[in-house]
């Protein structure tokens, strides 16, 4: 027994010691001397059809490159990218959330692409993608696509209540319309208590912010008068439906709630409408979009610009090929196709007309003009890891004193951002 064990152990060890090369992961070169380029994209960030089309097109232009796209899961992605950046054999291009670039850039694991900005015509990039992609004046993340929240509404319920969605251009009218929609078994709006991106938009509308920097340190600013007004508005809106006060839009997925209950509106990216229809095909064609209303006519509501940047790990062995890939995918031709295929906002303002025909994307583009990002500090990642804003929202919605809770939440934000830097 013992001998077999020892043999087994040493075999295992031997396997470990042997060279770390194995077919696919060895980045050196594929068949016929082609460079194998490993690319990580997130689940659902591109459709399978688009991915195939792009790979084919790109490899036709660059026959020397063999692109291998791997789809990554959202769960544990932060740790996964960390592990990749610290490894000796990282993927060559990684898609990463725009707000996450700063922490990876700060760590020194990303290739500085500042000298490529003019080649990529960076001047017309969406600010909400380009700014978080930069860290201390250097550009690490290249804007890939953006998406922001709009109001997804049920045309049939609006018609029944005699409301024209195109009239809803101010917060005041929005509340009035929602109140009229909210009766009987019908919910005016399904707004879960912890949809903090939506709250952030209201805060920016009021001229406030989630956090501010002074003297080199970041501190939470949820207790400023503007931010408090935003929370009050959120509370008013949230009450016009049966959204749970203690969970966010993913739990349960709000699109599924809209699919099964009489919900007149949700606040979601336009892609959420597809999920609604998937779950309830009877709603096909009955969903419309309008931008989140602002405080006054002519100013749409501020929104959080979500989306992704592409980054190149420093340890990638094919910086040139990786850059060629990034340039192609973020170039105008493919951006137009991507935006249409996925209902995204393209990565530069000049491309906005590309999606004019798509109701969801065009509603989104209105908001995108007033897009904001979360505070650009590596410490923000620590905030999102255990978000005190969510606790704060639930506390206020369940009747606690807003000023007290805001002060507490701001202190928690300050602490989290400090510990993360």
């Amino acid at each position: 027994m013992k001998h077999r064990l020892l043999v087994g152990l040493s075999l295992l060890a031997a396997v470990g010691m042997s060279a770390c090369s194995s077919s696919g992961s060895d980045g050196a070169s594929g068949e016929g001397g082609r460079t194998v380029l490993d690319v990580w994209l997130m689940r659902d960030s591109v459709s399978a059809a688009f991915q195939k089309e792009f790979e084919k097109g790109f490899e036709k232009d660059r026959p020397d490159i063999d692109v291998r796209v791997q789809i990554q899961e959202w769960d544990g992605i932060g740790e996964k990218v960390t592990a990749a950046l610290a490894s000796n054999d990282a993927p060559d291009v990684i898609e990463t959330g725009n707000t996450q670039v700063a922490q990876f850039a700060q760590s020194g694991g990303l290739l500085d692409l500042s000298d490529k900005v003019s080649d990529l015509r960076g001047a017309s990039w969406l600010k909400g993608l380009a700014e978080p992609g930069a860290w201390q004046g250097k550009q690490y993340g290249i804007p890939y696509y953006a998406a922001n929240r709009v109001v997804v509404y049920r045309k049939d319920l609006f018609a029944k209540a005699g409301i024209d969605a195109s009239d809803i251009t101010t917060r005041k009218r929005w509340i009035e319309a929602t109140r009229r929609l909210d009766n009987g078994g019908r919910q005016g709006i399904y707004l879960p208590g912890q949809n903090w991106y939506t709250l952030a938009g209201f805060v920016w509308d009021e001229g406030g912010d989630l956090a501010a920097e002074s003297g080199g340190t970041w501190h939470g600013t949820l207790d400023t008068p503007g931010a408090l007004r935003a929370m009050a508005f959120y509370k008013k809106l949230q009450a016009l439906g049966d959204g749970p006060k203690d969970s966010d839009e993913a739990n349960p997925p709000q699109a599924e709630v809209m699919a099964k209950e009489q919900v007149a509106q949700i606040i979601s990216t336009p892609g959420g409408a597809n999920v609604v229809v998937q779950n309830n095909p009877a709603l096909e064609g009955k969903l419309g979009f309008f931008p989140v209303p602002g405080k006054s006519e002519g100013t749409p509501g501020a929104v959080f610009t979500g989306g992704s940047d592409l980054v190149i790990p420093l340890v990638s062995r094919h910086h040139d090929a990786a850059y060629a890939f990034v340039k192609e995918l973020t170039g105008d031709a493919w951006q137009r196709k991507l935006a249409l295929a996925m209902s995204y906002v393209p990565n530069r303002t000049t491309l906005a007309p590309a999606v004019a025909g798509d109701p969801g994307a065009s509603a989104m583009a209105v908001g995108a003009a007033r897009g904001h990002a979360t505070p650009n500090t590596p410490g923000w990642a620590a905030v999102e890891a255990k978000n005190p804003i969510k606790d704060y929202m639930t506390a206020v919605l369940t009747g606690k004193d807003p000023a007290d809770e805001a002060a507490k939440a701001s202190a928690a934000l300050t602490r989290a951002m400090k510990s993360g830097t």
């Binding site: 922490q103 700060q106 006060k245 989290a416």
Partner: protein
């Protein structure tokens, strides 16, 4: 089973006389053989546990974040990380909460599982199989699925608990957000951990009960002992070593409960359900302060050993008698 019969648990503290040498128990094959036999285990533990542990200790003495993981330029900072932790009032609240969490869980687990074990022993065959199967099913349910289900049960709007309570006329529970209240969230997590832990403990304790020879019960009954007295003077002493082992394992396991809390509340609301492992992961993986996370884990191990040190001493002494 014979073990229990031969060697009642409560051994005298005076070293017992060695068993006379004979076929029954002969110390055999000494020399190099035992060392060869434990070599794989020892080597495995050295390389796969002690070595990483040593590296973790080193990390806890360095300035080690994401940057150092990627670029590898960590430098030694002595006990600065430990000083940061020990000087953080939040850390101490977390430590107190961890002990509370552990104590409440362990007391509940041990009480309930002892009761369940005693119950199973008294059941007829069919009922016994039913209860044991139910326990086993519970035990095998994936942690993430179990946690999610508990989360649903207590969901403010879609949970069946609020639905039922409201239906029964407790209207104050309509949309009651359990997980938004620190103590309620804490209680739900305790319920979850107890629910998941009782099967192992109960099954183990029950199997220990089955090893108690029935002659002992009969003898006690002949002496006119009451049921309670039989339990106290016959049953409990015999299952004590096992009880202690389960107890110490549960101390370790509840001290290290992590997945349930992380999935359900991430340590919130506020810090209400943050115990040490959650704190360590929050600092290590989420904030990428691997140094602080490591230091927190080392302190956790120390605290845990503190709780179990008595048990270790007893175990060490018992081993000497074999």
């Amino acid at each position: 089973m014979s073990v229990v019969r031969e060697r009642p648990a409560r051994r005298p503290l005076v070293p017992s006389p060695r068993r006379p040498p004979g076929p029954a128990r002969r110390p055999t094959m000494s020399g190099v053989w035992p060392y060869l036999l434990i070599a794989p285990a020892v080597l495995g533990m050295l390389y796969l546990l002690v070595y990483p542990l040593a590296r973790a200790v080193l990390i806890s003495l360095q300035d080690f974040g994401l940057r150092q993981l990627i670029l590898g330029d960590a430098h030694f900072v002595g006990f600065a990380n430990y000083r940061t932790l020990l000087g953080d009032p939040r850390f101490w609240t977390v430590v107190r909460r961890t002990f509370l969490f552990m104590a409440v869980n362990v007391v509940l687990i041990m009480t309930l599982s002892t009761l369940v074990a005693l119950m199973i022993e008294r059941l007829g065959r069919r009922w016994r199989t039913a209860v044991l199967s139910a326990l086993v099913l519970t035990w095998a349910m994936p942690v993430v699925a179990a946690t999610t289900v508990f989360q649903w049960l207590f969901h403010s709007r879609f949970g069946i608990v609020n639905h039922t309570l409201t239906g029964l006329g407790f209207t104050s529970f309509e949309d009651y957000p359990w997980l938004a209240h620190g103590s309620a969230a804490f209680a739900i997590l305790v319920a979850l951990v107890v629910w998941q832990s009782v099967p192992f403990a109960a099954i183990t304790l029950y199997s220990a009960l089955t090893t108690v020879p029935s002659e002992l019960y009969e003898a006690a009954r002949l002496d006119g002992a009451s049921a309670f007295r039989v339990l106290r003077s016959v049953t409990l002493p015999l299952v004590r070593p096992l009880f202690m082992l389960v107890l110490s394992l549960e101390v370790i396991w509840t001290f290290r409960a992590f997945v349930q809390i992380w999935v359900m509340t991430r340590g919130g609301p506020g810090d209400a359900t943050t115990i040490l492992p959650v704190y360590a992961v929050q600092t290590a993986l989420a904030q990428q302060r691997y140094d602080l996370g490591s230091a927190a884990s080392m302190l956790t191990v120390l605290l845990m050993s503190g709780v179990l040190v008595l048990y270790f001493r007893q175990m060490f002494r018992q081993e000497a008698e074999l």
